[in-house]
Point group: D2
Chain length 143, copies 4
C-alpha cells in the first residue's frame, strides 16, 4: 500500500511519533478537528506544526503549512518528508490542496506520510499528490 520512501527507518519513526505529539497544540475551536504535522528538512532538522483556526475561517492555517513556514523562517527550503496526523480512526489524513501547493513550491519529491489514529500510514510524493502542479517554473515562463 505504501510506496518505498526516501527516509530511513529512524527518520520514519521520528516523523510518525512527532506528528502525533504536534496535535496537542492544535488551536481548533471551530472544527474540533485537531491536526498535527512533522516536517523533516533535507539538512535533517525537524519542525512540527498544528492547525491554527480563526473565527474568520479563510484566515485559518493548516498544520502542514505551519510546519513549513516555521522551517522556512529558520532558513530551510528543501524538505525530505512530512507526516500528518489527525484523530480519524477510519481514514488516512491527507493534505488539503492548499498545503500540497505550498509543498510543491519547495520540494516536489518530498514524501508525504498520511496516517490514521492507530499509527498506520500511506505514503505518496508531492508530485503524485499534485500532478500537473502549478510551480515556480510557470511564473518564470511568464517573464
Amino acid at each position: 500500500m505504501s510506496h518505498k520512501t526516501n527516509c530511513s527507518k529512524e527518520e520514519e519513526a521520528l516523523l510518525l511519533e512527532k506528528c502525533q505529539e504536534a496535535k496537542r497544540h492544535s488551536y481548533s475551536p471551530y472544527s474540533h478537528f485537531p491536526v498535527g504535522a512533522a516536517l523533516l528538512t533535507k539538512e535533517g532538522k525537524l519542525y512540527t506544526g498544528c492547525n491554527v483556526e480563526n473565527a474568520a475561517y479563510p484566515t485559518s492555517l493548516c498544520a502542514e503549512r505551519t510546519a513549513i513556514v516555521k522551517a522556512v523562517s529558520e532558513g530551510h527550503r528543501e524538505f525530505k518528508a512530512i507526516a500528518i496526523s489527525s484523530n480519524l480512526s477510519d481514514s488516512f489524513i491527507s493534505p488539503c490542496g492548499g498545503c500540497r501547493q505550498v509543498m510543491a513550491e519547495f520540494s516536489l519529491d518530498m514524501t508525504v506520510y498520511m496516517t490514521k489514529a492507530d499509527g498506520s500510514f500511506l505514503t505518496r510524493t508531492v508530485d503524485e499528490l499534485l500532478p500537473f502542479a502549478f510551480t515556480p517554473v510557470r511564473m518564470k515562463e511568464n517573464r
Copy 2:
C-alpha cells in the same frame, strides 16, 4: 493526450472561448500573469472568473475560485467542467492546489480543461488532479 470528457462539442467550444475572454478583466498588477476561467454548472449555466490580486498576496484570489464562488452565490453547487486560460504559450495552465481543493468540495468528477495561449488543451478530472482528496466526507467522520 486529453481524456474523453463529459462535455458535448458545443459545451467544450463555449468553455474554451469564454475562458479566454474572462482573462480581460484580470486584476493582476503584481504578477502581471492574467488568468481566466469559465465554469459550466450541471444545470447548464456558465460563469466566468479572473484572478483578483491584492497588495497583500495571501488575500489574492485565483480565476477558478472566482468563477466557482460566483456560481455558488447564484445558487449552483454542482459543476460539470471548468476551463482555464493564461498567456503562457509553452505550458498548459493548471489549477493551483487551493483551487483544486475548492473544486473537490463540490464536484470530484468535473472536467478541468487546461489550455495554452494557442487554444490547445489537456483535460483531467478533479479526482485525477487531487488524488486522496480531503473532502467534506472526512469532516463528517470526525463527528
Copy 3:
C-alpha cells in the same frame, strides 16, 4: 450611531434588502453561520455574495470577497458601498480583516453597512475599519 454615508436613501434601501437575500445561497455547512453581502459599484451596478466554505477551512471565502471578485470579474474596480448581513440578532456583523484588505485594494472611501438580523445597522468607511492600511501604494514604493 451611523456616520453619514455617500449613498442615497434608495441605494441604502437596496443594499440592505439585497444583503439579506444574498444569505440564502450561503454554503456554510461547517460554521452554520450564513453571511450575505451586497456591493454597489461606482457605476451603479449591484453584486451579491455569500460565504462559501470548504472542508479545508483556509480555502473558504467570505461573502464580502465573493461579491467583490464577482464585480471585478465583470469589469468593475471602484466601489461605493457594501452591506453585510448575518443571523446574529445582538451584534452588528463586521467584515473580517481579510475582507477589509480586499476592500482597501480598491476603494478606501467605500461605506460598509454592518447590519443586525433586525435590519438595524452601523456604517463606517473602509479607511476607518482598516487604519494604516497596507495598500497598493506601499508595493509601488518598493520598486
Copy 4:
C-alpha cells in the same frame, strides 16, 4: 506619534532588533518585498517570522502570521507585542488585514510596532488597527 506600550525598554529593543533579523529568511521571489516579524508572548518567549510566498499567490503567508502560528504550535496563545520590518525607507510597514484578523483571534490588546528601514516606528494596539473586529465571541453568539 507612538502611543505608550505595554513593553519594557528591553523588550522593545529586542523586538525591534529581531524583526530586522527575521527578514533575512524571507522567501519572496515574486514580490521582492521581504518582511520580518518578531512576536513576544505573554510568557516572555520570542518567535520570529518572515513572509513565505508561493507561485499561487493566495497560498502565500505573511511574516506576522508565520510568527504567530509558530508560537501557537509551541503552546502559546497570548501575545504581548509584535514588531514588523520591511525595506521601505519612507513608510512604516503596517500589517495587512488578514494578519490583523489572526492577531485579533488571540490578543486584541497586543501592541503592534510598525517600523521603517531606519528603525523608527509607530505603535498601535490590535484593537486600534481592527476596530469592530470580528472575533471568536461572534461565533459563540451564533450557537
